[in-house]
Symmetry: C2
Subunit: 395 residues, 2 copies
């Protein structure tokens, strides 16, 4: 125990919201309350932006019942931000840290947030400011390195699975071809989770699953859809928003970019409408083709939460604070899977540099060789994270 | 008791699926099993289409446990159809009824289905064929006449409310302007249900609610959004897919029509994208504007079900069969509200002609005079139908 590192902690949230990101926040706050070395618990509103603006909330002031209500609320309760600090911003952040005697900084976010935490950690070393920064993972994309999976993913996966369960029944009732566009810029995990909807025989959809890890060939897609339609008289399709063609060009891209340079893919129905048109062109007779884009619902829907996900999101927050105080060293919290059946996991610390900036994607062993489906291995990985799903049945 | 009307019953489902339409189906099947006058229970696949094709399932063959699993499955388990029978089809339907000694016909659907039931009922009278046809109501649009509300609506309303609860938190975390397009061609009930998401102070969204009952003025819309954004730094908007301008022209219409002559509004993101562009044009600086179209998820999502809705959907199925056997006369089942607190309802029969073809919409007393909000009266009407919602809270 390093008794020297005593001071206030600051916690912030960054990047896209998830349904359980506040579990991590509340886990960290509750853990911090019993740490003598933590002399104050501040929340930064809208992440790095709130630090620069000194826009803080005193988080030690809230009752447990209030904290628990916030824990089950989707989307960053402190406010989030999509801002990667440059040199000038980092200088400002340090001024603020010193001014407020902040010795612990916890940043809940994805790989961009890990990079921010890493940059700040390196600056603290250079400045010989005695300081500890911990990245607490979250992302519905499930694309962080090192960790077995990311808090936030399994609840989004549950939403996607339930959506496809119902939509497949809808498509069976009123036959046609249905495209559902799922979040996932470079990683197909969430789109692949649609496969959990197949409770039953092979007639159950989704019948085709296109992930960004495989090049999207328009002509092949049209042929795939024709084949499924010929067999079942209908077709339900899951498509990642980030699919690209064989040259690596996104099938659909707009001009709007966020401050990380990422192109806007969500919050528009354009890709779904484009794929609908491709499908209509693939048939000589008129087809009933519909497309839905799941959009922000899949990351912030209250009431459709994976229990494992909620527990693990709480766990990484708690663990991050405990480790920071015990070790007084910076790092990123990761999840280790101990067992599939019964499902068990624990946490460990990994260097910030091992998580920052870069991301992972679906393993080759998880993608079917036909390029438009997943494997049993992937279901073994995913099923315990998502947990129980509703029952659907048919005559 | 009219002991003369003895024979087989046929049941079918029609129109857009709902999350509880199979509760009505299973309620009818279970009720029929104990009726001596019902000598067989047949299900028509895909409604009228299945009758013409004699594509039937023997529904008396299934065990109770199987039936109960189907009851909780969203979307028409018998298959649905959007087909209004013409003269030739009706002649064919009668041939089939006589051939199979069908004396009871139950059709679960909206006003188009009630009209089909009515036409068949009238033909039976003319042909002096001893016969009873009962329309069992369902529609997420909640636009049937006579009944207090329609089975299927409250579960879709619950989905919409939860979606807005989460999306409002998402929008609070990452500020901007968000449009959500909700189903509803002529009636704004489902869009209006988004108001249930406002658990808390007036900063909670949706901040603007546009229903098809009021003309949509583009310039007024832009001004409304600017005002909300100036006040809260963000804006969450609920819009019915069927909004039309002051001349009655739909804001966005495609060329695709179904067999009832209805224009396709769902299954495309075009309206949301159009409104996003309108909003961007309303500001001099660049705005973060996103649009989601809830699409088919809102009518077929398993696991987000109103308990009252599920119970009432079962009730109308059971009641329809019992009344048909006891009264041996045709009609449509309607729900009567007995009390708001505690919520209580029962059923009664209304003539098919009172429900067929025409539809209702939101009462004037339920729409705020500003034209982009609902009233307390509407919340009094809606709240007991939807039941408990998840908790969301904030610092």
């Amino acid at each position: 125990m390093n008794a020297k590192l005593k001071g206030k902690m600051l916690i912030g949230q960054s990047g896209g919201p998830t349904a359980v990101i506040n579990q991590s926040l509340i886990g960290a706050i509750i853990a911090a309350k019993s740490q003598e070395n933590i002399t104050g618990i501040l929340g930064a509103k809208h992440g790095i932006q709130g630090i620069m603006d000194e826009d803080f909330i005193d988080l030690s002031a809230y009752e447990l019942a209030k904290l628990e209500r916030i824990a089950i609320t989707p989307a960053a309760a402190l406010g989030s931000v999509r801002l990667k600090p440059g040199k000038a911003e980092c200088v400002r952040v340090f001024e603020v840290f010193k001014k407020h005697d902040i010795r612990y900084f916890f940043y809940i976010g994805g790989n961009d947030s890990a990079e921010t935490a890493h940059i700040i950690s390196e600056m603290a070393k250079e400045a010989q400011y005695d300081f500890c920064t911990v990245h607490i993972p979250k992302t519905i994309d499930n694309d962080l390195k090192v960790t077995d999976h990311c808090p936030g993913f399994a609840s989004a996966a549950k939403f996607v699975a339930q959506a496809f369960m119902g939509d497949d029944r809808d498509n069976r009732a009123l036959k046609g071809i249905k495209v559902n566009v799922v979040m996932g810029r470079h990683a197909g995990f969430l789109t692949a989770a649609s496969a959990l909807a197949r409770q039953g025989d092979e007639s159950r959809g989704p019948h085709l699953i296109y992930m960004p890890e495989r090049a999207f060939d328009r002509a092949q897609f049209q042929q795939d859809v024709r084949q499924v339609h010929a067999k079942w008289g209908r077709c339900v399709i899951a498509v990642s928003e980030g699919i690209s063609d064989t040259e690596g060009t996104p099938i659909l891209s707009s001009n709007e970019k966020d401050s990380h340079g990422n192109v806007q893919l969500s919050g528009t129905g354009a890709l779904g409408d484009y794929l609908s048109a491709l499908i209509k062109d693939a048939f000589s007779e008129p087809m009933r083709v519909r497309a839905d884009t799941f959009g922000y619902l899949q990351r912030s829907f209250p009431g459709v939460i994976s229990e494992v996900d909620a527990q693990e999101a709480r766990m990484v927050g708690t663990y991050g604070v405990e480790q920071a105080v015990q070790q007084a060293s910076s790092g990123s919290v990761a999840i280790r899977r101990l067992s599939d059946k019964p499902y068990e996991s624990d946490c460990f610390m990994t260097p910030l540099s091992s998580v920052a900036r870069e991301s992972t994607e679906m393993k080759d062993a998880w993608i079917h060789e036909n390029g438009h489906d997943i494997t049993e291995d992937f279901l073994t990985y995913l099923t315990p994270l998502v947990g129980e799903l509703p029952i659907v049945d048919e005559f």
